[in-house]
Every structure is written in structure tokens, then in C-alpha cells.
């Protein structure tokens, strides 16, 4: 083991109260199988999974419910055995609060597994392993939900030199990765070795914040004899867990805008994702559950191992319910998370933490005041942007200017809003501007298609008109030449015959 000494400090960031000890006092508990499971078909980045079951079907634990639709998508499996009750639009844990397609499963409580297929990855090609991973349902469990098979894919130009394990867990309150390292360190290390050889990386560096002493001790002792796995302690400064920030902290490499870390020979995975990949390859178990922190205004805060699709209500109930009843829950951390539309949503792959809202989290104590141009936000911005300029441009719908000030580099970490003395909800303005710009560019694409189709239609109509005119002209020409003359002669002959008849009749 080697402890790498040098830490490259990024600009800005904040040091907030971590509040992590609330939920680390108890061990991870497995939540019992709930009476109903509601699985949203969209739990990942990319296309919605393609349904593979119908109402009334009996499914086993680990059976495919929906498969990945294309490459940028992820599969969804039955978290336990049971019967499909319905497929309908239900509330999902999404900031929009809008319903989306969900599969409802009634568990039979037998928890009977489908036949598992561990992957003999050492004896098959990387491509085949990757193909199998496509339907593992594993996505980035740190919260981004990016399909993991894409990160493990062979489709890249530069070889991966360094595998970085994101164990920073920088947001306050969240402790699911911390507890995972404490209790499942062995699985994690085996998973790291597996992913390292899958990627062909030379070394692995685990990046961990200095507030997770216990997890650090456990992981350090586990990697003592591993020559290529190192652990690097980074200071507790939010947002050190952001991918590009952590890479800089560890390696001092700044990944430029619109570039991926893999182009610099670095690939990063969250600790929970590594364990999920390990369980899939070693035991053939697809992604069925995750560790969720439930904390804040709750009677028994702790970490739970929860099956995907479990109603949040059962989780809250098992944790003793809210201390002060307000029925408000936040998903994710207090910095980047959002208020859940209702308690009637289910646990998904992105749900790393549920914070039962403290009364002061909902009550707005001070209303926002005008910007006083103090530039505190610029000092706090970990991406070195000019948040105050971005705020002015977003507020006045000057999207082009906002883009020129690199709006899309913003990671929405919320440091600017946190330090703002005027309490301006800065990040909300950036999110608004970003989604406006995205929808405008989609509209522009659609307009281009419409223009092309209209141009083609005009061209087609012109061509048809011309062809018709040509055909008519041709027919006309043919008629005058032969048929018409013949017709005229026939008619003349008939007339002459008639005249003759009349003459003959007169003569008689």
C-alpha cells in the first residue's frame, strides 16, 4: 500500500456541517419484502426500458421485466418473485412530480430466484462480457444513473490507465457509501480487482474524504497486500465527490469541457456500483436493490438495503416514522436533492438518500433580496464560473450570453446558492435556463426536419406537375398524328354514306 501525499486543491467549494453521524450509528438493515412493488421503467439516463412482461405474468426474483432499449438504456429486473398486477402511470421520484410508466408487482413472499448465470469473464472475450452487462440493469449508483456497461465498454480510443473509485460521498447527511465500505469492504476490493482487470487499468485509486475514518481504516487494512490499489484521502470540501473535481484532487488533471475522463486514461466508478458489478459477474445477480440512507427528522435514522420498487412509505414506517410530522421528504442530499412530490413514490436506482425534512428545511425564513454583486458565489464556484453573470443572463432569458459564459459547465452543486447573502435561488435559475436551451435546440431540430420535408414536397409536386404535362402533351401529339386523322376520315366516310342514302331515298 502506498499513501499518495499530494492533494491538488480545487477552487471554491464549501465546508458545511456534514451531519453524517446521525445515520452511521446502526448497521445496514435489510428491509423486509413489501406487500407491493412499483418499478418505474425510467430509472436511468437514456431511453426508457422496453417492457418484456404483461399483466398477470408470474415472475421469479431476478427475471427480466424490461430490457435495455438500445445502448444508452438499462434493464429492469423483478426484485422478488411474484405476480404482475398492473402496468400504468404512477408517481415517480422525479422533480417534475409527474407520473410515468411503472410495473406493479405483488410479491408471493417465496423470494424464489430465477436460474443465475455467473459470468466466466476470464474465459470469454471482453466484448461478450460487455454484452451480458447490457442486461445487468446496473447504473451508476452514486446518483447519476448512467448505464455502467457503457463505462466498461471496449469502444474507446485511449486505454484506461487509472481506475478511480469515488468514495468521497461529499454531500451532508448521506452515508450509504460509508456504511457499504465499513460492512462490505471485502466485496468492494474483489470488485475493484475485477473491474480493474476488465478495464485493463494499471492502478486503482480510492478517493475518500477525511471524515470517514472508520471506513478508511477498514479499506486500508484490506488493501495492504494489494500492490496496485491505493487509497487517497481528500479534504472534506463539498463538492469533492463530483467526478471531475475528484480527478483533480487525486491526479491534478483538469478534464476540459466536453471531454470525458476516459480520453485521459481515467475511468471512475462509485463504490456501490463496483459492488453491483461484482455481484453480477461473480454470482449472476442483476441489480435488484441498493443501500439507502434515511435520515433527518426521523425516529431511527440508519441505512437500509432496499429492493427497487419498495414504496417509500414502508421504508419510513420501518425507520419509526417522522419525529415531527410534515410529510415532506427530500431525495438525494440537501445540496443537490429535490423535494419528493409525495410519500407514495418508490425507491429507485438513483435514490441514495432520503432526508425527512427538518422543519427549518421547509419554512422559508428569509425571502430573496436583490443581487448586491458581492461575488461570493464566484469565490465558491468549484468550476470557476461567474455565477452572478449567469444569474443575470438566465433571469432575463439571454440564453446565448449565458451559454457564452459556459452555463453548461455548471454542475448544479449549489455552492453559489449556499453562500449567497441575498438568498437567491441561483441554481434554480441555471436549471431553468438549461432546460429552456435544450428544448429550444430540440425545437430547432424538429423545424429543420419540417423544412426539409416541405422542400421535398414542393419539389415532388413540381415534378408530378411537369410529368403530367409531359404525358398530356405526348398523348395530344399521338392523337393528332394518327388516331385523329383516322377518326376524321371515318367520320367523313360515314357522312358521305349518309348523304348517299339521303340522295337515294330522294330519288325513289
Amino acid at each position: 500500500m502506498k499513501l499518495l501525499d499530494k492533494i491538488f486543491k480545487f477552487n471554491g467549494g464549501i465546508q458545511a456541517e456534514t451531519k453524517k453521524d446521525i445515520s452511521t450509528k446502526k448497521t445496514i438493515k435489510s428491509l423486509p419484502i413489501p406487500s407491493e412493488i412499483r418499478l418505474p421503467l425510467r430509472q436511468h439516463i437514456g431511453k426508457m426500458a422496453k417492457l418484456r412482461v404483461k399483466v398477470g405474468d408470474q415472475v421469479l426474483k431476478g427475471e427480466l421485466i424490461a430490457e435495455a432499449d438500445g445502448n444508452i438504456s438499462a434493464a429492469i429486473h423483478a426484485p422478488t418473485s411474484g405476480k404482475i398486477k398492473s402496468i400504468e402511470k404512477l408517481l415517480i421520484p422525479h422533480p417534475s412530480g409527474l407520473p410515468d410508466f411503472c410495473v406493479t408487482l405483488i410479491p408471493d413472499n417465496n423470494d424464489k430466484w430465477v436460474k443465475k448465470f455467473p459470468i466466466d469473464w476470464k474465459n470469454i472475450s471482453l466484448k461478450e462480457t460487455n454484452k451480458l452487462l447490457l442486461n445487468s440493469g446496473i447504473v451508476g449508483l452514486g446518483g447519476a444513473a448512467f448505464p455502467s456497461h457503457l463505462k466498461l465498454g471496449t469502444n474507446r480510443n485511449s486505454p484506461i490507465k487509472t481506475l478511480i473509485i469515488n468514495a468521497a460521498e461529499c454531500e451532508p447527511y448521506i452515508t450509504c457509501d460509508d456504511m457499504l465500505m465499513r460492512e462490505r469492504g471485502k466485496d468492494l476490493i474483489e470488485g475493484i480487482e475485477l473491474v480493474q482487470s476488465l478495464l485493463g487499468a494499471e492502478e486503482t485509486i480510492i478517493g475518500i474524504e477525511d471524515n470517514k475514518l472508520e471506513a478508511f481504516k477498514i479499506i486500508s487494512s484490506l488493501i495492504e497486500k494489494k500492490p496496485n490499489i491505493y487509497i487517497k484521502v481528500v479534504p472534506t470540501i463539498y463538492p469533492s465527490g463530483d467526478a471531475k473535481r475528484l480527478i483533480f484532487l487525486i491526479n491534478g488533471i483538469k478534464i476540459p469541457k466536453e471531454k470525458r475522463s476516459s480520453e485521459y486514461g481515467i475511468q471512475m466508478f462509485n463504490v456501490a456500483t463496483i459492488v453491483a458489478i461484482f455481484r453480477f459477474i461473480q454470482y449472476g445477480e442483476p441489480s435488484l436493490s441498493r443501500i439507502v440512507t434515511i435520515t433527518g427528522n426521523i425516529k431511527e435514522p440508519r441505512n437500509y438495503e432496499v429492493l427497487f420498487g419498495t414504496p417509500l412509505r414502508s421504508l419510513v414506517k420501518d425507520a419509526g416514522g417522522q419525529k415531527i410530522k410534515n410529510n415532506t421528504f427530500l431525495m438525494g442530499g440537501p445540496m443537490m436533492g429535490f423535494t419528493l412530490p409525495s410519500i407514495d413514490v418508490s425507491v429507485t436506482k438513483t435514490m441514495n438518500c432520503v432526508i425527512s425534512a427538518e422543519p427549518e428545511m421547509i419554512q422559508v425564513t428569509e425571502e430573496p433580496l436583490p443581487c448586491i454583486r458581492c461575488s461570493k458565489c464566484a469565490e465558491a464556484c468549484p468550476v470557476s464560473l461567474q455565477p452572478q453573470e449567469l444569474f443575470w443572463f438566465s433571469k432575463s432569458d439571454q440564453f446565448e450570453k449565458a451559454q457564452n459564459y459556459n452555463l453548461f459547465d455548471c454542475i448544479e452543486c449549489g455552492c453559489c446558492s449556499y453562500v449567497c447573502p441575498s438568498n437567491i435561488p441561483l441554481v434554480q435559475f441555471y436549471r431553468y435556463a438549461k432546460s429552456e436551451i435544450i428544448s429550444q435546440s430540440i425545437a430547432a431540430e424538429e423545424a429543420d426536419i419540417a423544412r426539409e420535408r416541405n422542400d421535398f414536397r414542393i419539389l415532388r409536386l413540381d415534378r408530378e406537375k411537369k410529368e403530367r404535362a409531359e404525358r398530356n402533351a405526348q398523348r395530344k401529339a399521338e392523337n393528332t398524328n394518327t388516331d385523329k386523322l383516322k377518326l376524321i376520315e371515318e367520320k367523313r366516310a360515314e357522312i358521305a354514306a349518309a348523304m348517299d342514302r339521303i340522295k337515294n331515298e330522294k330519288n325513289i
Partner: protein, 188 residues
Amino acid sequence: MLTSILIILFLAVIIGLVLGFSSVQFKVEGDPIIEKIDSILPQTQCGQCSYPGCKPYATAIAKGDADINQCPPGGEKGVRALAELMGVEYKPLNESHGISKPKAIAFIDEDTCIGCTLCIQACPVDAILGAAKQMHTIIEKECTGCELCLPPCPVDCITMEPIEENAENWKWKYPVYSIAVSEKKVNN
């Protein structure tokens, strides 16, 4: 005297050659201003502007025959963009050309459709699929929501369905500050 005349003549010949060459070599096909205007227009091809499509309207604006506020699907944002491009004052949408409304997509009630092909002939972007005495249907992705298929339908089986907000096309809203807090202050 003679040298100066010769120099001027020489220069005139050289510049003439350069200008002549570049006018052939760098000739601009089409009118760039029309293209620019056309790229702002929403390409609904609805004809509400009283021109047969977006391109003819763009041509008319460029010529100065049409005003910039005749495009209801483009809405206020479209008029503002056109005003900026043309260097003229913004003016509100001319309501005699229709009002701006959220985008909708045509939907054919397949039980009522008699397969007359009249809507197919009316569609400016060929977004309707069907044949004589066969049921017709809208290609949802291609429909611009121009409503030109509605009047020709003899059995009124086409309706406009507004695009619903769902988890995929949902947008973050413009932040609105809490009003409750302000009210409290007033009461105090």
C-alpha cells in the same frame, strides 16, 4: 502627367480583374437574409401569415412586403428574434393572423376515417400516411401542428391533441419566489 494616367489605368484594370474574378468565384447562391429569416421561423408551414409557407413569408419579409408580426406559431419570441435580425422595432403579434397557442399534434379518429386522401393532399410536410379507401394515420414525429388537414376532412375525424407534459419533456420552471413570505411581512 502620362505616368499618372497610366498608373490609374493599370490600377483600374487590376481592380476590375479582381472584382470580376471574385464575383464569379464567390457568388452567393440565394439570398442569405432569406435563409436567416427562414431559420427563425418555426417551419410549421401553416400559412397563417397569408403566404403559402415559411419560405415564401421569409422572402416577403426580406423584400419588405410583409411585416414581422404575422407568424402566430413563432409567438412573441419569434417576433423579437425577427425584429433583432431586421433591425426594426418589436411589435405585438398581429391578431388578424391568429393567436399563439401551445403546439398540438393532429390525431385521426380511425373509426370515422373514410379514406378520402384529402388530408394527405393538404399536409405540407407529408406527415399523413394512407391510401384511397384505406385508413389514414398521422406520423406523430413529423406533424408540425399546422391544422391544414382539418378543413378538407369531410367527416371531421381529425382533432388537434395538445402535447402533454411528461417526465421526459418536462422543463424546470422559471423560479418564482415565495409569495407567502411577502404577505406575512405586509401583515406585520
